[in-house]
């Protein structure tokens, strides 16, 4: 275990104490053993307390934790087989999107995932998980293929946003994202999207149209990264924490707003404290939701998927009908 986030400071001391005691191993005296057990219990308790009351901004830190499991980790832990597809067949291969058919629990599904990089070299290769247009076009190709062969689609979302470079504009980032938004509502196979870390802006939504949208407990989903939102609203990205609170980015806040369908609980202290447990929870969640969607006929499924997004939005009507722009002076 490693506690290294700002708000986890109270836990660090306890952890140190535990490590020191554990290091004694066999030589541990009886009273030290009780001490160890007690400290461990206290650590668990304190962690629970802290994690129960995470603010939106603290959740952002957990969702971006450097040790948080990424899509490739889940693929390794969930799938019996995975064959990665490469390239969009028109320009290139984008490593920020990982996609391909996979075996999970005896059935073939099409995985479409963002992949951030762990070390410097991989981060560079994968552009920090921010896809280029060719990444979305690769995803498009894979999803069309999934429909052709009747494979359910499982997407794992973990991107701060789409890549914001000049080359991306040249190759049509806007069109690449819009195209998947146009495709996904009509795909005649079940789709489940899960936000496993960061879900930011159109870059995340581009693989996020689904019959079920799940979120890991400490993941975040937002219209723009808090830094970007703050610089738009208050002209200063230093106000990011305020933007995060205001936009209600955490899974816990989004569930009651019916913007997502389900929150999958994370291991104590966040997904990075227990990859295996997290992967098992995710797998169970995916399979359960998939089984539920498969109960529906294709037409019912498509109608429900359309309705799900059609009804999102809050508005009111002005009491009196005010004469408006139709008359031009």
């Amino acid at each position: 275990m490693a506690y290294d986030l700002e708000f986890e400071k109270p836990l660090v001391e306890l952890e140190k104490k535990i490590t020191a005691l554990q290091r004694k191993g066999e030589r541990l005296k009886a009273e030290e053993l009780t001490q160890l057990q007690e400290t461990e219990r206290e650590l668990r308790q304190r962690t629970e307390e802290i994690y129960k009351k995470l603010t939106s901004w603290q959740t952002v830190a957990v969702a971006r934790h450097k040790d948080r499991p990424y899509s490739a980790d889940y693929i390794r832990l969930l799938c019996d087989d995975f064959f990665e597809l490469h390239g969009d067949r028109s320009f290139g291969d984008d490593h920020a999107i990982m996609t391909g058919p996979a075996r999970i629990d005896g059935q073939t599904v099409m995985l479409v995932c963002h992949q951030k990089g762990r070390d410097m070299k991989e981060k560079q290769l994968r552009n920090l998980g921010m896809p280029h247009p060719e990444g979305y076009r690769k995803a498009f190709r894979a999803m069309q293929q999934a429909e052709k062969f009747g494979m359910p689609i499982i997407t794992l979302i973990d991107a701060a946003g789409a890549s914001p470079g000049l080359v991306d504009e040249e190759r049509g980032q806007a069109e690449a994202i819009a195209a998947t938004l146009y495709l996904m509502p009509r795909l005649r196979v079940p789709i489940i999207a899960t936000i496993i870390g960061e879900g930011g802006s159109g870059g995340a939504l581009a693989i996020g149209i689904a019959d079920r949208v799940l979120m890991l407990e400490h993941s975040i989903y937002m219209v723009a990264a808090p830094e970007a939102a703050a610089s738009i609203i208050w002209r200063n990205s230093a106000f990011a924490s305020y933007a995060a609170e205001g936009m209600r980015v955490s899974a816990r806040e989004l569930l009651p707003l019916a913007l997502i369908d389900e929150v999958l609980p994370e291991p104590l202290g966040g997904a990075h404290h227990n990859y295996h447990q997290m992967a098992q929870t995710l797998k169970a969640g995916l399979l359960r939701n998939l089984a539920e969607i498969k109960q529906l006929s294709t037409e019912e499924m498509l109608e429900k998927r359309y309705e799900k997004f059609r009804v999102i939005g809050k508005y009111a009507y002005l009491e009196a009908e005010v004469p408006l722009v139709s008359e031009v002076s």
Partner: protein, 291 residues
């Protein structure tokens, strides 16, 4: 999401201009072109559809003016004018050091009074050279034309008019992107409008997208780029990421007008760049060709 690009008002051009004493309040008589600094008489400028007669700069116009110049006079019938935004997230948090203390609700009220419309898009039905169509026209003067719940809802309803009545749909986009204060609700409007367009497409009804300055962020990455035919006004900022953000991300300086209509045309993202005065005629041709 990109905010609109600011046009630098400090020009390197004609130092003689700067030396002159400042003009008295030009108020209702003249307007200065922000691009070439030409002083334009309002009467001529308005007659020229608010396009600079010297450098062809297309000024931003509001939804009202846009509808007037696009459709047959008197043919526009507005629907759903009375839908207004609420504050779904109770977005009242403010950095204590930030001077502007207006909440989202207060801003909305102010914008409604100032812009004279209830939200950043006006929808309805009209005819262009007698050809009927469903219409959604965005307005950049209402919170920078940003898309929240209401904009998404009204755009979707305009598309639904097209589906129900089997008439083509025209959306004139202008937007700084998604509206931050409505958080994920705003993002989901991209999904909603795109899904509605997919249904329009399944019904084989044409959708024409008109991009005007600026069309950026979540709007460009959804309905704006999904047109069967996409046309843009000259020099309009058209991009997913605004130039300011690209510059920050890449640590470079972009020449002015890098990501605009002409750039998009050159890179194969849109079908035509059309001068404002030719828009109605062009749309009429398209309506005939795609009927």
């Amino acid at each position: 999401m990109a905010k609109e690009a600011s046009i630098p008002l400090t020009s390197q051009a004609s130092s003689s201009n700067d030396a002159k004493p400042k003009l008295p309040d030009m108020g209702n008589i003249a307007t200065k072109c922000p691009k070439c600094k030409e002083i334009l008489y309002n009467r001529d400028w308005e007659k020229n559809l608010k396009v600079c007669s010297r450098c062809n700069y297309h000024f931003k116009i509001n939804a009202n003016e846009r509808i007037e110049l696009l459709v047959d006079p008197g043919s526009f019938v507005e629907t759903d004018a009375n839908i207004i935004s609420v504050d779904p997230l109770h977005f009242t948090i403010q950095p204590p050091s930030y001077p502007d203390k207006r909440t989202y609700v207060e801003k909305l009220q102010e914008e409604r009074n100032k812009a004279g419309i209830n939200e950043a898009v006006v929808i309805g039905q009209a005819t262009i050279e007698k050809k009927p169509l469903a219409l959604a026209v965005m307005d950049a003067f209402f919170i920078a034309g940003t898309m929240g719940s209401v904009v998404g809802e009204k755009i979707t309803r305009a598309i639904e008019i097209g589906i129900e009545q089997r008439i083509p749909v025209l959306i004139a986009s202008t937007s700084g992107g998604a509206r931050m204060q409505e958080g994920l609700y705003s993002l989901m409007q991209m999904a909603k409008t795109s899904a509605a367009l997919a249904r329009l497409g399944e019904a084989n009804i044409p959708y024409f997208s008109l991009l005007t300055d600026p069309t950026t962020g979540g709007v460009s990455a959804s309905f704006a780029m999904l047109g069967d035919v996409i046309i843009a006004e000259p020099g309009a900022l058209v991009c997913f990421t605004g130039p300011r953000v690209i510059e920050q991300f890449m640590h470079i300086k972009l020449p002015e007008g890098t990501v605009n209509s002409e750039f998009s045309l050159q890179h194969g993202m849109i079908d035509a760049v059309v001068h404002r005065r030719d828009l109605r005629q062009t749309l009429a041709r398209l309506l005939r060709l795609y009927s």
